[in-house]
Amino acid sequence: MTGATPGSNNHDERLAVEIAGIRFKNPVMGASGTFGYGLEFAPLIDLNRLGGFSTKGLSARPLPGNPPPRIVETHGGMLNAIGLQNIGARAFVQERLPSLRGYDTRVIANVFGYSDEDYIEAINILNDGEGISAYELNISCPNVKEGGIVIGSSPSAAARLTEKARLASSRPLIVKLSPNVTDITAMARAIVAAGADALSLINTLVGMSVDVNTRRPRLNYVTGGLSGPAIRPIAVRMVYEVARAVAVPLIGIGGIASATDALEFIIAGATAVQIGTANYYDPRVTEKAVDGLSEYCDHNRIESIRSLIGSLAR
């Protein structure tokens, strides 16, 4: 079976997809905040085999993040309140991008700010960087009081930021949606109307865990973002809804830990996927997922994975 063994499908043309005019050799990417700056995975996997990855959220200036404890495991997932600790956009351009240019994979810069101006400032810094394929706006991180939660749940605020970012950006613009809303399609429509080239979804759901012995929250920040297989059904549903509401390509995210999981999103309407939390407990999951997609194409005689996008039978 071709593609069944690692390495053998380095160039499995069947897996190629396109988003906003950019070609990805396959639909499998590492999700922001779970894939560091990419290089951390070089000792474990062949980065060249991935469609790409999204960087840890980058802000105009470096951020220290929240006090510990920052994470706690739950059933089927985990809560995190990292608080977007990151080295800052400039350090990323100067210290990480050069080494990343040595790899043949798509680098998506995930951008974050506390205000519209912060976002634009970060984008302006990143515009100078070579080797970035697209920007992904994180308007949905539930861990930061200012901005995040508000922009991510208000169609008008999100549209306003998207317009500004669209103007400032020299690259394709992906906006990442928050699941903590009543109607995710309203957010999607407003953001696409404002000029987003693609959407990625979902970010984490706001959750909380209590240590009943100490009667304290398990996270110093009290609440945190829920991720992992536990949220996959919610993410698949949202991708399915948004796919029928807008015409731009979607990147499915949420609890993906295998090629089968990724296929749920693709069949529901996603052009590509990002794997997050699974990278922690299965560091080679992205590479395995690429192999799994090739196997699926073999078994089901799929000429191009593009034929599966939104192919849900009713």
Binding site: T34, P64, P68, P69, H75, N80, T214, T277, Y280
Partner: protein, 274 residues
């Protein structure tokens, strides 16, 4: 750092609730004292995240053993594995105990609290072999726990050993910090370097005491871990910085540690929720 499927050679209960897990690997590994591995029972669907376990002993380049306390879901899943079982392993991880730190004075005090013992057995061995005058302070809540934490293995080292138990069921009654303070006060000559591994509260106290005596102190810290190799930034501890909330306010236990100089740590910000 390698990611591999290890095989269980043995997984014996050495005291109620405490086990020794011996794994064999398909490739050669080199683990230094104080380093750790992220382990997970291969066929367990839950919990998802691997757990960190210090290298307790290495038996050649392809075999290591770990000492663990069966506490929650992760260790429960491990405890069910029998010989031949598979363990997902990422290793070796973290920095290691600076053995040569005690070269200048030639003296060392190793303070072990509870299952923290798992991290210091190899350290004691290296110190002894380096000719450092090493004294072990071994604390546990009870005699049972002391045995569960590998007391026999520590005794076998033949080094001077002071035991304390909270309930007095073995050795001196009370916390291990009492003999530590006593020794630093009474023993003359050059200051020993203090190496400590145990619960946060104990480490915090150890740091206080050693600071009082201007003794150099190194601690191995614990934090909830998502990945073990530096990407999730979930395992941080707060460290002292010039500007209070500057960018470098936090360090990752998994990759910047788990071993830190005691004076660098902000003990007022606990890293664990319990």
């Amino acid at each position: 750092m390698i990611e591999t499927l290890a095989t269980v050679e043995s997984n014996d209960e050495i005291a109620t609730g405490y086990r020794r897990l011996t794994l064999s690997f398909d490739q050669e590994i080199e683990a230094r004292p104080g380093q750790f591995a992220m382990l997970k029972a291969h066929d367990a669907f839950e919990p998802l995240l691997r757990r960190a376990f210090a290298f307790y002993r290495t038996h050649g380049p392809r075999q290591s053993s770990f000492l663990y306390q069966v506490l929650g879901r992760g260790t429960e899943a491990l405890s069910r594995l029998g010989r031949g079982g598979r363990v997902e392993a990422l290793l070796p991880l973290g920095n290691s105990w600076p053995v040569d730190a005690s070269a200048p004075t030639g003296r060392a005090l190793v303070v072990s609290g509870g299952i923290g013992s798992a991290s210091v057995l190899m350290l004691c061995d290296r110190l002894a072999r380096a000719g450092v005058d090493t004294h072990i302070l071994f604390g546990a809540s009870s005699a049972r726990v002391a045995h569960g934490c590998g007391l026999e293995d520590f005794r076998a080292l033949g080094l001077p050993l002071t035991i304390t138990t909270d309930d007095g069921s073995l050795g001196e009654r009370g916390f291990v910090t009492a003999p530590l303070e006593r020794m630093l006060r009474t023993r003359g000559g050059p200051r020993p370097v203090v190496y400590a591994c145990g619960p946060w509260v104990m480490m915090s106290r150890v740091s206080e005491i050693t600071a009082g005596f201007e003794a150099r102190c190194l601690v191995s810290l614990e934090a909830p871990m998502g990945c073990g190799f530096g990407v999730c930034v979930g395992c941080v501890v707060a460290v002292k910085t010039r500007e209070p909330l500057g960018y470098n306010s936090y360090k990752r236990v998994c990759i910047d540690g788990s071993i830190f100089p005691a004076e660098a740590v902000r003990w007022d910000v606990t890293a664990m929720s319990h």
